[in-house]
């Protein structure tokens, strides 16, 4: 565990970058430092590997003061990923990745073998090994940056706005990749960003910092969204935090209506049996069970269903796997106001109305409050 204990960074001109900050960063999880520019998040990160020395306070790594070991030994035990990757432009990709193992005295062959293994791990084509950084795209360079940081298998990974300089689509890919890697590797990651959505997406714990280097709130993302500590945090979270909070409620408990589904080859009796007064529309599925579209029961002619005439069904959600946010999104997008739930194979599992989702949300909120009371 990394323990930041009332650390202050004051510069000679009197500027206070970090003001009596205390944080406990749990092992094997992603802790995100987020805040507007000038809030001291990068300064905090750099104090962990002593690129910046605190003016006051101490930082403990597994209980030991980080100033008690040689600075370069400390740094080599912490991977560091930086905005724009900061690759060594004069070295090949494989030698960039092998930097720290080589510094640790590994043989060239062993270091390169390790580098190849990591290239694969972060999703880089092995053919890029002998290329130079300028020959790679921004996203690829950032992957190299991550591989380089992981090369010596450090327990701690420090990431300073690593995905800020790439376009949104590449950024989403890199974020997903990081979460996948983290599930495999279980590093203690400290991640700095100014993007609150990124913080909520990848953080196990999120520390919101405010200008002047003070901690505004330190909480798991769901708690941040449900109970922002003050107006600053609330404002920083943005306007639709209620909707975003739904991401943290699973759709498992949603009660699906399974009777409103008919196959495309249904008989007139089957259609009549499924059409009940509380179900204004029927979901028509293909022979493989995948949803095709909605139709009013009266518009369905047995044996002559034209998929092109059906109403679109919006975006289905994977029941039990995706969140209430996905379910609500599906219901809002659907012209009938009903969301389509599918199983992992994409087969229709049931349909659910906006009213049912709204009830599930109320229940989830109530449970969240009860849990908070118990914890408090």
């Amino acid at each position: 565990m990394i323990r930041i204990d009332s650390v202050t960074k004051r510069y000679p001109d009197g500027t206070v970058a970090v003001d009596r900050l205390s944080l406990e960063i749990p092992d094997r999880s992603i802790t995100v430092l987020v805040g507007p520019s000038g809030c001291g998040k990068t300064t905090t990160l750099r104090m962990i590997n002593r690129m910046i020395e605190p003016s006051e306070g101490t930082i403990l790594l597994d209980g030991a003061d980080i100033t008690k070991q040689p600075v370069n030994t400390l740094r080599r035990s912490m991977g560091y990923v930086i905005q724009n990757a900061g690759l060594f432009q004069h070295r090949t990709i494989i030698d960039n990745i092998a930097t720290v193992p080589r510094l640790l005295g590994w043989s060239k062959d062993k270091a390169r073998a390790r580098a190849r293994e990591l290239m694969e791990r972060v999703g880089l084509d092995g053919a890029l090994a002998k290329r130079y950084p300028y020959q790679l795209s921004g996203g690829q360079q950032q992957r190299v940056g991550v591989a380089r940081a992981l090369a010596a298998d450090p327990p701690v990974l420090l990431m300073d706005e690593p995905f800020s300089a790439v376009d949104p689509i590449v950024r989403k890919g890199l974020q997903d990749e990081l979460l996948r890697l983290q599930a495999e590797l279980g590093k203690t990651i400290v991640f700095v960003t100014h993007d609150i959505d990124e913080a909520i997406k990848i953080g196990t714990m999120v520390a919101v910092m405010r200008t002047g280097g003070r901690l505004a709130q330190y909480a798991p993302p769901a708690e941040l969204l449900s109970d922002p500590a003050d107006a600053f945090v609330e404002d920083f979270l943005g306007t639709d935090r209620g909707i975003r909070r739904l991401s943290f409620f699973p759709s498992t408990g949603l009660e699906l209506t399974t009777t409103a589904i008919v196959a495309v080859d249904a008989t007139a009796e089957q259609i009549a049996a499924r059409a009940t007064p509380d179900v204004p529309y029927l979901l028509v599925t293909g022979l493989d069970g995948r949803p095709l579209g909605w139709s009013a029961p009266g518009d369905l002619t047995a044996g002559a269903v034209d998929p092109a005439e059906l109403l679109p069904f919006g975006r289905p959600f994977v029941h039990g796997e995706e969140s209430l946010r996905a379910a609500l999104d599906g219901a809002v997008l659907s012209p009938t106001g009903w969301a389509v739930a599918v199983d992992r194979e994409g087969r229709a599992a049931g349909v659910v109305s906006q009213q049912t989702i709204a009830e599930a949300i109320r229940t989830a909120h109530a449970e969240g409050r009860d849990a908070a009371k118990v914890a408090g």
Partner: protein, 247 residues
Amino acid sequence: MSGGFFHIPSDLQNTYFGLVGLHLREALIPVAAGLLIALPIAQLCVRLRWLYPPVLGVTTVLYAIPSLAFFVVLIDYTGQTETTVMIPLAVYSLVVFIPAIVDGVRSVPQETLDAATAMGLGPVRRYLQVQLPIAAPAIIAGLRVATVSSISLVSVGMLIGNQGGLGNLLHDGQIYHQNRLIWLSVVGTAVLAVLVDALLVLLRIALTPWMPRGSGSRRTKAAGARPGTDTEARPEPAVTALEDAVR
């Protein structure tokens, strides 16, 4: 008058290609010495920003001292020798090397330096393994200017008693009224400069396989703009050589 086109008057006690060798030695040793002296001074200028302007001023003033003046002072200590010719040449090269190295080292992107520091490279490793290699194109650009200028300047050594390599032929050409000798000197010096410059270009290409090549947009956005490392942005060696010849 015996011998062919390359025959050299006996007072020089040398062959034409012997003079070429002499010329190269007198031109290149000072450049190498200048580079070795400039590296630590430039590194100091990078570390202590305030030092750079005065250092540049001093090298410019030294560059403004005519070589003859240097000779007059130096002859008392080093006599009418090659050393007397080479010392001013080494001093002149500083005016080119120091800014080239400082610009080159400063052009290393901050995030590259931060990454190096964060990976546990100490200051010496960072300098030798990151800053210097990345500054290499700028340093070699400076090396080209310094070398070509040095090759053209060696000729003044003839003034202190045939210590000017190919330049000695200028003097002989005058006293023996042989234009052939003057052509041999001037064209020989120029060809030498062009050949050595070409070799340095090859050296740069060999040393920097990591530089984006090709015409037009030379650098990708991702690699980052690195002002100051472009050889194109520097004065052409040939131009400087002409300026030096005028001196």
